[in-house]
Structures are given as C-alpha cells and as structure tokens.
C-alpha cells in the first residue's frame, strides 16, 4: 500500500474543505470573543488538526479494507450508544455526550461513519437492477438501529442525520416506486403516532417552528434573533466581530448551531454566497467523484457520507431563517464541536480515499 505516490488527490475538494475550516475558526473566534470560553477557538483548532490528520490517514488507508471490516466497526460503534442509554448523564436534556477528562464526545458521529461504511459494504455486494426486499431490510436495519438509539437519548436532530443514508441506499439502490409509496405512508402514520413520544421540548420546537411568533421569549426567541442577525447583515455584513446580534449575545448558541447566522451578520450576503459556494463545491465535487469510483462500495460510501454532510448543511442553513425547524444540527466544518469537525474530516478523508483508488489497477 503506497502513500500519495502517483495516486490522484482531489485538490478542489481539499482546498474547499480547508477554506471552510479557516472560515469556521474565524467565526468561532468571533462568536466566543468576550465570553468566558476564550479557549474554545484553540480547542476547535486542535480538533481541526486532529481531523485533518484523520482525513489524511483515511486518504492513505484503502477504504476497501474498512469496508471488509465494516460490520465489526459498526457493532463496536454502537456500543457507546448503548452505554449512553444506560449510564449517560444528560447534558441539555440529552444523553448524547461521552465525557473523557476535559473532553466531551458524541459517539453517534462515529456511528454515522460506521453506518455509511456498512451501507457501502451492503451495496458492494448488491448488484441487482432492483433493490431486493432482503437487502432493503438490511439497509433499513443498518440505519434504523442507531437512529432509534440516538432518538432515545433523546436527540432528534442528531438522529435525523442518519436518515440520508437510508434515502441514498433506497434511491441509488433502485428501490421500486411502490416501496417508496408504502414507506411514505408508514412515515406519515408514524409521524402521527410519534408525536405522542416526543419530549415536550421537542413538541415545543415543532409548534414554535410552525408558529414562531407564539413564543417570543422562549423557543421563538432563538429563531427571531437569528433571522434578525442574518437579515441585518445585508450585502456586506457588519464586519468581523462587529455583529451586534452575536457580540451582544442576542443570538443563542452562536458558536455552535447558529454559527452561520454569525457569518451572515458579520460578512453579509457576500459571505453567505461564498460559504454556500464552498459547500456546494464539496457536495457536487463529491458526487462527481462518486461517478468515478472503481466499485459500487466506493460509490455508495461517497454518496452516503456526502448525503449526511449535505443534509446537515442545508438543514442548518435553513434553520437560521426559519425554513427548517430548530433541531440542533450543527453546521459541518463551521460549527464549534470537536466530534463534529473530526468525524466530518474523517468522512472527507474517506471520500478522498475512494477518489484516489478510482482506477482498478492501483
């Protein structure tokens, strides 16, 4: 196994990622300036470093080795989730964090990578023109097990980020349209039934999403403040660290979930377009890479990973302006959060790894 030598390296993807990371660190610095957590920027930079190492490591490693062991990896990654459900301490209502010394980690992020690997492994060996019921059942299980475990933590937002894997598998695995229809029906009914299982704060988020004006002091306050932050940025923004909404703390959780509102306020529509373009570049470039993949496993791996990535990006951006409900999904690469940035970079490493091994003979 050779490192780098003669192998393709996708610089477009790489530089888009590095650009996003740089913007991310600037925004975290701005969003945390003046607060007691001044070391958050350093900490984030450190996690970015770890993530970049992981990315390079993944690039160097043949993804096919990982595919081979994907089932084991998957099982192992479920263990901490099970542990959390039993022993986890709640942080902000949910048991999604594992605390090691000074660090907190969301194991579900790793599970997501493992699930993507296992799904790819599934489709590596699924070459029928139509998705067989047995394969569909497996796909369903792969996604649903961690989904339910995370959902029970209960972290609805994080659980939802598993669903793109299911959709990718169904779509690219050629699920017959009748199945789609049946699934849609189950989903609608399940949503109705699921309402009764939602926690109060989750129900409130949905109600607030539908009628944000009803609760201007609580949940609606977040949305209102983030819309004000975004809208008041105008074309060019108020300038780095000059966003009144974020600097005066009107904007809630601004260094994590609402980091994009900080960008929109301080760098305006120009900044938004730039970051939007970078994300589009990452997603579209990855889709292009998927079409180059040497095998079904590689293609599905890229598709699964990038679908999770793109899903989070779109949901998070929509969240800022009330297009999507406030679900607590961070913005990949920009939001503060070690596990998010490290696993996202690891995923990007896997994408690069697939691209590097596009020709059968290397």
């Amino acid at each position: 196994m050779r490192l780098f030598g003669g192998r393709h390296f996708d610089w477009t993807l790489f530089f888009s990622i590095i650009a996003l990371l740089s913007i991310g660190i600037l925004l975290v610095a701005s969003a945390t300036s003046g607060s007691r957590n001044k070391d958050l920027t350093t900490r984030q930079a450190m996690w970015m470093g770890i993530g970049i190492l992981a990315m390079v490591g993944m690039y160097a490693l043949d993804y096919r080795v990982l595919l081979k062991f994907s089932f084991v990896i998957y099982l192992v990654s479920l263990a901490p989730l099970a542990y959390l459900l039993v022993f986890g301490h709640r942080i902000a209502h949910v048991r999604s964090w594992i605390r090691v010394g000074n660090f907190q980690f969301q194991p579900a992020e790793i599970t997501k990578l493992a699930a993507a690997l296992l799904m790819a492994y599934l489709f590596e060996n699924e070459e029928e023109a139509r998705l067989r019921p047995a394969a569909f059942a497996k796909l369903f299980a792969i996604v649903l097990v961690p989904f339910v475990m995370v959902f029970l933590q209960p972290d609805l937002g994080l659980a939802l980020t598993f669903l793109p894997l299911l959709v990718i598998g169904m779509y690219f695995g050629s699920l017959p349209w009748r199945w789609w229809a049946a699934l849609a029906l189950v989903l609608v009914m399940g949503a109705g039934a699921g309402w009764f299982f939602l926690k109060d704060y989750q129900k409130q988020r949905i109600t607030t999403f539908l009628q944000p004006e009803t609760d201007l002091k609580g949940a609606g306050y977040q949305l209102r403040q983030s819309k004000i932050a975004v809208g008041s940025g105008g074309l060019f923004g108020k300038g780095f660290r000059k966003g009144t909404q974020s600097q005066l703390r009107f904007l809630p959780v601004r260094h994590t979930d609402f980091i994009f509102a900080v960008l929109a306020e301080e760098f305006g529509f120009v900044g938004v377009l730039m970051v939007l373009s970078l994300y589009a570049a990452v997603v579209l470039r990855s889709l292009r890479l998927a079409s180059h993949a040497r095998d079904r496993g590689g293609a599905f791996l890229v598709l699964g990973l990038i679908a999770c990535f793109g899903f989070s990006v779109i949901i998070n951006m929509g969240m800022m302006i009330g297009v999507f409900p406030t679900t607590g999904i961070p913005l990949p690469l920009l939001s503060y959060g070690g596990s998010s940035v490290a696993t996202t970079l690891t995923a990007m490493g896997l994408v690069l790894s697939v691209e590097a091994r596009r020709f059968a003979n290397v």
């Binding site: 096919r64 590596e124 060996n125 070459e127 023109a129 779509y171 690219f172 050629s174 002091k217 403040q225 819309k227 004000i228 932050a229 975004v230 809208g231 008041s232 940025g233 105008g234 074309l235 009144t244 909404q245 005066l248 703390r249 009107f250 929109a264 306020e265 305006g268 529509f269 938004v272 377009l273 939007l276 994300y279 589009a280 997603v283 579209l284 889709l287 292009r288 998927a290 079409s291 993949a293 040497r294 095998d295 079904r296 496993g297 590689g298 293609a299 793109g310 779109i314 951006m317 929509g318 302006i321 297009v323 059968a360």
Partner: protein, 620 residues
C-alpha cells in the same frame, strides 16, 4: 475483491438527477438568504438596532416655583422607589411576599404592578413601590444580601412646601394622560409627570424643561455595555409668581373652616398677590400616585376642592355691583351726586314691590349715602332709569361677562344678561322688573371673584384695566437669563376724576363712616374702601333671617374693595359661600389682607365679634 463496477447507466442517470437536486437546493438556499438579507435587509437591520439600542430618558429637573419674595412654593425632592429585578430572583412569589412583608405594602396594589410587567422582558425591573421613606430604604438596603433582586431607585418628586396652600392656583403634577401624550408624542411618554391645572399646567413648557436622552447599547441581558450618544436634559425654568406668601397665608388661615375664594391684585400691574379657593387639597397627594380611594374622595367631594372657585365659580355679585352701578350712573349722567331718592324700606316698580334690605328704610339718600348704606331702593331707581341695555354695556365695560385673561386655565366668564340673551338662552322675553333686581346684583348676573377684583382695579385706576397674572418672572438657571412678565393693561373706560373721586369717597364711607355697611372693619390709617354684598341662595324674599336657615340655604357673602383710598395699592375681593353677610364674614378678611399688605396695625377692639355672631345687625 469484487469485480469492478460495470453496469453504470442507471446509476449515472441517478447521479445526474442528484447533481441537479443538490444544485437546486443550494440555489434555493441562496435565494432565501437573498430575500432575508437584501430584500428585507433594512427591516431586519432596524430590528437589530432596536435590539441593541435603548433610549433612556434623563429627566430634566422641573423648575422651582417661588412667591414674589423668593419663598419656595413648589420644588423637587428625591423620591425612592423599590424595584424588583426578576432575573435575580429564584422565586418570584416569595420575593413579592418578602417585599409586602418588609414594607407593609398593599398586596393588591403590588400584584397589579407586577401584572403590568408580565409582557415585558425579564430584564425590565418592576416598579413595586414608590415614595419609600429613608427608613424603608435602609431596611431594603440592609436585606440586600438575602434579597439581591431588590434595588432602590432614586427619582424626583414634586413637593409643595406649603401643602394645600394656593393649591388650585399652583396645580399639581400627575401622569400625562393618553390625550396629552398623543398631543406631544415627542415630548411625553406615558407615565411622564405633567402639570395639571393651575400654574403647573399653564407654564408646563417653561417648568418642565426638556428631558435628555441616553442611547445606550445593551446586550441581550439588558446590561448596558456602552453609551452610543446622549443629549443633556434642559432643566426647567424657575418661576417667580406675583403671589405674596404672607398675604396668602393670612387668607389661608381665615379660610380654614370656610368655603369660598379670595383674590388680591395690584391694581396698577394686575399682579395677583393672593388667590385662594377653599376647601383645598394637598397637591402632594398627586406626586406620590394617590390610591384610587384618595382620588375618588377628591373627585366626589361635593365641595369640589379641585376647582378654583376664584376663577371658575360664578355667582350673583349682590350689592357689590353697586360700586360699578354708581360709577355708571354718574358717568352716564343718569344721576348727579346730589340726586336724592327716598327709601321707605320698599318701592314699587312695574307693579311689583321691591324691598330694601333695611326694612325701616334709609330715608332720603344721595349716591354717597346709598353706597355707604347699600340702599337698595336708590339703586332700584337708578336701574330703572338706566334700563337693561345701559346697565349691560356698563357692566361689560367693567369686564363682566368676559374673561379677564388671567394666566390660569379654565377661567369662567360669567354672565351679563341682555334682552337678546334672554330670548336666545331662556326663550322668554326679558321682564322689565328683572332689570330692577339686576341693578342690585341679583337675578341672572353672574361674576367670579377675580372679575370683581379686576373690575375694581379698573375702576380705581380710572378705567385702565390691568390684565391679572401670577407670572412675574422666569429664570433660566443655566444661563441666568431672567424673563419678566410685561404688564398689559387696557384703557377701556375713561372715568372722569370727579366721578372717580365721588365713587371712591362713597366706597370709603361704606367702611369708614358710621352707617357704612362695613363700618366694623374700619381701621384708622388703613383707608380701606369697598362694597359689601350678600346673595340670596333661596328664592325671592324668604322672610326668615339668613342665620336661621340651614347652612346650604344661607346667603353668600361678598366684599370687594381696595386700599388705601388715594393711589390704591391693593384690590381685594373676598367671597364666602353661605357666609351670610359681606360685612361680617367677608370684609374682616379684606381688612386683614390690606393691613398686612400695607403694613398697618389693626388695633384690638372690644367690640370685635367672632364672624359667626355677625348676624344680629343684619347688614348685607
């Protein structure tokens, strides 16, 4: 390893679709951000400015009000309020209970205040109680460790140093009404104190100054992080009134248990030296946001303490009008000083018998004697000779039936009846016999105490009527500039000196000659002149003596006069509701005021009776 992935057509097709879907998704997202940031950018920018900026009014110190000698009548004192910061409290209900218990507050009042803040953000402190005493402030401060949620705020409160002293003339401060806020939204916010009634209202703009404004930058907790801009308040101007507190207190003392009004003016300048309306009220009640009970007590009091009787209540002048009838009769040539009328105690006009107040009659009287003894028959005769039209025009020339133009709000203009008025307002023809009543100030002729004083000032000044006013000067405390009132007077009549002397002599005689109705109020060297009057409250000719009637049916008492006779320095009008007799109830106060103003000592006299016992002589 499995074979290389070969069959790609369906897969590639799907990829192309997803490529388009992703592009559309990002495109839509960009459009959504364009809409929020560009299309609605100004709107949200405004909202973000509203978020971060707070406008804090900096209250301007209200001008101090002083009397003509510098005695402070109204000033500002620090007032302490108790504020509750909801963010600092763990248990709102417990905090409220603690406040109620510590300061002994009324629970319903506190709960009403708390309810008002329900829609405000937590960082807006609740104004729980106002006007804490120094002791209460100390109590709150001493418990600040256990109760960090409470804080004491210092504001300014209007303080009327003499309490109910000249209360109706001074007015009071209370929260601006919605109408007042709507009229000047750039100057007042709801809750701002604003002058209501009296001088406080008339000179609101001078006194209030202009509030300054601090525009501060706050964070989401409402904590001030910086000041963006500020404009200093412009303090209100200090006002010096023409009122003489010494004179005013002489009047105030006299009216402790009486109802009525007093006006004393300088006939040359129109400066109001004293103005009183009784019963009065304590304007300080308004400064400390009176309770609903206190308010209804004031408003529902049948004696209407809020009303300024001196300018707002009009009554028949009674015999006090004879002073002006005398001038009109002489000036118009209707009577000469030597014209004599025989008074037998009654006389018949238009087939009706009219009585003189003095049943036994005055005998043969000329003008001098008629004014001195207040002979009704003489003035009936004069009235009949003049006729209503000439009486009305003479009375109007003296300013009756129109506003004097005093610088106080809500002055009433009273009524001088004419034949047109009778048809238009009463829808009946004027009865000639009514003219006879009007000639002695009875019937539908209505005047205020101020109008009588104003008319008397015009008379003694030979027809030059000063415009009455309380404003003397205003001082800009910052620049030291002083703005003075420019006296305004109008030569409405030209009274011949000979006529004026005759009338003044007669008015002097009414006080200083035996047989004068106010003879008991004479003081050597004071030269008080004037005319008494009493007004029947019940219908025509009740045979009972007034003092035998229940209070509310007793006659009203008037005295209008001036002193000294030559070059008068002060004109005084006293009105006492149900005071029965001008001579016994009203004249003594006029005497005291004139004596106090001119520095003349009043000798003790054994014959001096308490006012209530005056009825025995039965003088009007």
């Amino acid at each position: 390893m499995k074979a290389v992935f070969e069959d790609r057509t369906g897969f590639q097709w799907r990829l192309e679709i997803s490529f388009i879907v992703v592009s559309i998704a990002f495109g839509l997202m960009a459009t959504a951000y364009w809409y929020i940031q560009i299309a609605r950018g100004d709107y949200y920018f405004q909202l973000s400015e509203n978020n971060r900026l707070r406008s804090v009014a900096v209250t301007a110190a209200r001008g101090v009000i002083r009397d003509r000698n510098g005695v402070i009548l109204a000033e500002n004192r620090p007032a302490f309020s108790l504020y509750l910061y909801r963010r600092e409290t763990k248990n709102l209900a417990a905090s409220i209970d603690a406040a109620i218990e510590t300061l002994g507050l009324a629970r319903e009042d506190v709960e009403r205040r708390v309810a008002r803040y329900r829609t405000y953000f937590d960082f807006v402190p609740i104004d729980l109680a106002d006007n804490l005493t120094v002791g209460e402030v100390a109590t709150v401060e001493s418990r600040s460790v256990d109760h960090p949620e409470f804080a004491v705020g210092v504001g300014q409160q209007r303080f009327y140093t003499h309490g109910s002293f000249a209360a109706q003339a001074l007015g009071y401060l209370s929260e601006a009404t919605t109408v007042q806020v709507a009229a000047a939204p750039d100057r007042y916010r709801p809750g701002d104190p604003i002058g209501q009634r009296g001088i406080e209202s008339a000179y609101q703009d001078l006194l209030a100054g202009r509030a300054g404004e601090r525009r501060i930058i706050v964070d989401s907790f409402g904590h001030e992080t910086a000041e963006e801009s500020h404009s200093d308040p412009i303090p209100g101007r200090d006002l010096t009134l023409s009122i003489d507190a010494r004179l005013q207190s002489v009047a105030e003392d006299y009216f402790k248990d009486r109802v009525g009004s007093v006006v004393a003016i300088d006939p040359k300048t129109g400066e109001v030296l004293a103005i009183l309306s009784a019963p009065s009220y304590d304007p300080n009640l308004f400064s400390r946001r009176m309770t609903a009970a206190e308010w209804s007590q004031l408003v529902e009091n049948p004696a209407k303490p809020l009303q300024n009787r001196a300018i707002q209540n009009v009554y028949s002048p009674g015999s006090a009008i004879k002073a002006f009838m005398a001038e009109a009769g002489l000036a118009g040539g209707v009577v000469s000083p030597d014209t004599k009328v025989y008074c037998s105690g009654s006389a018949t006009f238009y087939g009706r018998t009219f009585h003189c107040w003095r049943k036994e009659g005055h005998g043969s009287v000329d003008l001098h004697g008629a004014v001195r003894g207040s002979c009704d028959v003489y003035f009936y005769t004069l009235g009949q000779k003049m006729g209503l039209a000439r009486i009305a025009s003479a009375m109007q020339a003296f300013g009756f039936g129109e506003l004097t133009g005093i610088d106080l709000p809500n002055e009433k203009k009273g009524l001088v009846p004419t034949e047109e008025w009778s048809l238009k307002s009463r829808h009946v023809r004027w009865y000639p016999s009514e003219t006879i009543s009007v000639a002695i100030g009875q019937g539908p002729v209505l005047v205020s105490a101020l109008q009588l004083a104003h008319a008397m000032a015009g008379l003694v000044e030979g027809g030059r009527f000063p415009r009455p006013h309380l404003f003397l000067s205003a001082e800009d405390t910052q620049s030291g500039n002083r703005y003075r009132y420019v006296n305004q007077s109008e030569q409405r009549l030209s009274i011949e000196p000979a006529v004026l002397e005759r009338v003044k002599d007669a008015l002097w005689a009414a006080v200083n000659e035996p047989g004068g109705t106010a003879y008991l109020s004479r003081v050597p060297g004071l030269d008080l002149c004037g005319k008494t009057g009493s007004v029947q409250v019940v219908g025509q000719k009740d045979t009972k003596k007034s003092h035998l009637l229940p209070y509310e049916k007793r006659d009203h008492a008037w005295f209008v006069g001036f002193a000294p006779k030559d070059d008068p320095k002060i004109v005084i009008c006293v009105f006492i509701e149900h005071g029965e007799h001008g001579a016994s109830a009203a004249a003594p106060l006029a005497r005291d005021l004139a004596a106090a103003y001119l520095g003349v000592a009043i000798p003790e006299r054994p014959g001096e009776r308490p006012p209530g016992a005056a009825a025995q002589t039965g003088q009007p």
